[in-house]
């Protein structure tokens, strides 16, 4: 079936997971995807985000069920450990697959 003239098929772009697509959150998810878990300070140092910025992104990912956040104390210091949930891992894989497909489709 031929496509409608003058109308490109861009529907796949709208299906991109915007929660993962944001650069800072993508960095957080990429790093947590390759490790088992990391604490807040480690992520902050590796990604180069400020505390407030990282905290906001983490809250969004946690609300979506992509991140598991464990708050504990190490002595008197609070320690926040972050881990991707299986849903988060799947979301990251789907996102990577979709983006790869989109860039392949762009080749004309």
């Amino acid at each position: 079936m031929s496509k409608e003239v003058g109308k490109a098929d861009l529907t796949s772009l709208a299906e991109i997971d915007r929660l993962v697509h944001e650069p800072a959150r993508l960095a957080v998810m990429s790093l947590l995807y390759v490790v088992d878990s990391a604490d807040f300070t480690f992520l902050m140092n590796q990604i180069g985000l400020t505390w407030g910025n990282l905290s906001a992104h983490i809250s969004k990912l946690e609300d979506a069920g992509y991140l598991e956040v464990k708050k504990t104390f190490k002595g008197k210091r609070p320690n926040t450990t972050l881990k991707l949930t299986s849903q988060g891992r799947q979301a990251f894989r789907d996102y990577a697959k979709r983006m790869k497909q989109i860039f392949q489709d762009f080749n004309g």
Binding site: S30, L31, Y33, V34, V35, D36, S37, A38, D39, F40, T41, F42, L43, M44, N45, Q46, W51, K71, R77, P78, N79, T80, T81
Partner: protein
């Protein structure tokens, strides 16, 4: 544009845990500790050699652990690596276990062989001169230490570890062959120096985030 390679990302995160230079300082101190034990003065070995070695190694180990816990971790944060890294560490433990068994077997065969009159006579004839004996023991000592440390460096992805392995093997060789602790001390200092530089850089690069951790 840089490609994002997930394997490389994991490796970079892993390597960042060596940026504090503590391993270099710890291994350098161990080399200096060895000089206390392997140095054989004209009077021969004394229990003091062993006591000094154990005391110095305990101090080096304590300094390393305290440094990791109270300096590195609060600044850099903590990370737990995935299944692949854990498997790699388990393989390293297994390989090192086999290496130790080979060392023990070698020493056992050697000691049995030495008692065998025929073999002992051949060996003694070959190593008649003190120089040849020292050379053989020094070579064996460095061959015991060097390859084991190279294996550790390989499994731990610790690139500077190859340099440290070569330095320690050289230290063992010179200590035994020339019977002077000064070589081990110099090599120990040469190993510690890059560690100190890295440690100072680490302190600058990763300041303590007191306020942030309070609010976490």
């Amino acid at each position: 544009m840089n490609k994002i390679n997930l394997k490389e990302l994991e490796r970079k995160a892993f390597l960042s845990t060596y940026q504090d230079g503590l391993w270099d300082m710890y291994l350098g101190l161990i080399v200096i500790c060895m000089s206390f034990c392997l140095y054989r003065p004209a009077t021969g070995y004394s229990p003091l050699n062993i006591v000094l070695l154990l005391a110095c190694m305990a101090v080096a180990c304590a300094l390393f652990l305290v440094g990791k816990k109270f300096i590195t971790l609060p600044r850099m944060g903590q990370v737990k690596f995935g299944e692949k890294r854990t498997r790699r560490m388990k393989t390293m433990a297994l390989v090192l276990g086999v290496v130790v068994l080979i060392h023990v077997a070698f020493l056992g065969i050697q000691s049995i062989g030495w008692r065998n009159p025929e073999f002992g006579a051949t060996l003694n004839a070959f190593l008649q001169e003190k120089d040849a004996m020292d050379l053989a023991v020094a070579t064996l000592g460095s061959l015991f230490v060097g390859p084991s440390l190279i294996l550790v460096a390989y499994f731990m992805d610790f690139t500077r570890g190859y340099f440290i392995a070569a330095m320690i093997a050289l230290a063992v060789f010179l200590m035994i062959y020339l019977n002077q602790p000064i070589y081990a001390i110099i090599i120990g200092i040469l190993t510690i120096t890059p560690g100190v530089v890295l440690f100072l850089r680490f302190l600058q690069k990763y300041p303590l985030h007191r306020e942030e951790t309070k609010r976490e």
